[in-house]
């Protein structure tokens, strides 16, 4: 099942979080880039979650775990 999605959360003070779900490797940055550029700009704090460092073969393994 494909559970890829991008989630934008905007709190009551205008603070924005952009999250990529279900993406592996650098594809998450590529996917969120248009929204990050628009809503957060260049200075946004970015964090890579553990999935960022997973290669394609690990994606296959994790999908069957």
């Amino acid at each position: 099942m494909n559970d890829k999605r991008i989630v934008v959360i905007i709190d009551g003070k205008g603070a924005v979080q952009v999250e990529a779900h279900g993406h592996k490797g650098g594809s998450c940055k590529q996917a969120t880039s248009p929204l990050v550029k628009t809503l957060i700009g260049e200075k946004g704090e970015e964090k890579e979650k553990p999935e960022f460092y997973q290669g394609d073969f690990k994606i296959t393994i994790s999908e069957f775990e």
Binding site: G12, Q17, G22, E46
Partner: protein, 233 residues
């Protein structure tokens, strides 16, 4: 989740204009350089009960550095450690206590007074203000200041003294909250939501496979959640 980015900035002026039109019926966004603050009414000086916004701290020390002043050494002698990369002042600004220490020095004081008199309130590209017919003649205004380094980004600034002399009490803006020094929460949230939807629609139209459709919901705590699903999902 594999990637998370957070923050706030204005990049879509059209989205902000639409937001003001929809959510703030007493206000208007216009192209104008000067926006009213305390300094406008008080001969170009600030009260000094809050530190300068980070953007102005950066401009202040950058102007001194251009004049050949060793700002790091000078600040350190006063007990204030400036970040190695002065551009970091924008996000890691000095606090009021540190500002008071810096202003004991005549060079820093002169630069501070110069920036208050010549730049603060005079450097906007667009402003948000009460419509004339509302008659809020003493209200301050919100300035949209082009970022000096990052092209296309705007800083949203206002003087929140006395709720911006009434500006922040306007429908759809959001008052200053002293606990965390935030202001304009309603306007910022509505703008971010509008800008996000416009960016998503543009990506859908351009054929980006990551952007097929989206759903927007308001959560029970007032946060807005927008989920974007890839094409074919």
């Amino acid at each position: 989740m594999s990637h998370l980015a957070s923050g706030f900035c204005v990049t879509d002026i059209e989205a902000l204009a639409l937001t003001v039109k929809e959510k703030c019926p007493q206000l208007e966004l216009v192209r104008q350089k000067e926006y009213r603050t305390w300094t406008t009414d008080h001969g170009g000086s600030l009260v000094g009960d809050y530190p300068l916004p980070g953007l102005y701290q950066l401009l202040m020390v950058a102007s001194l550095k251009k004049q050949g002043v060793n700002v790091h050494a000078k600040a350190e002698a006063l007990g204030v450690k400036l970040p190695n990369n002065l551009a970091d002042l924008e996000t890691k600004s000095w606090d009021l206590k540190q500002q008071r220490l810096l202003l004991q020095d005549e060079t820093f004081k002169a630069a501070y007074e110069k920036i208050c008199a010549e730049t603060v309130g005079k450097d906007a590209e667009f402003i948000i203000r009460y419509k004339k017919e509302v008659g809020a003649n003493h209200a301050y205004e919100i300035g949209l200041i082009p970022h000096p380094i990052r092209k296309g980004e705007y800083m949203m600034l206002t003087d929140f003294y006395a709720q911006g002399n009434g500006l922040l009490n306007a429908k759809g803006v959001g008052v200053h909250i002293s606990e965390d020094n935030s202001w304009g929460g309603e306007l910022k949230q509505a703008y971010a939501s509008m800008a996000a939807e416009r960016a998503i629609v543009a990506q859908i139209k351009s054929g980006n496979p990551e952007y097929g459709r989206y759903e927007k919901t308001v959560l029970s705590d007032g946060k807005i959640k927008i989920e974007v699903f890839p094409k074919g999902s």
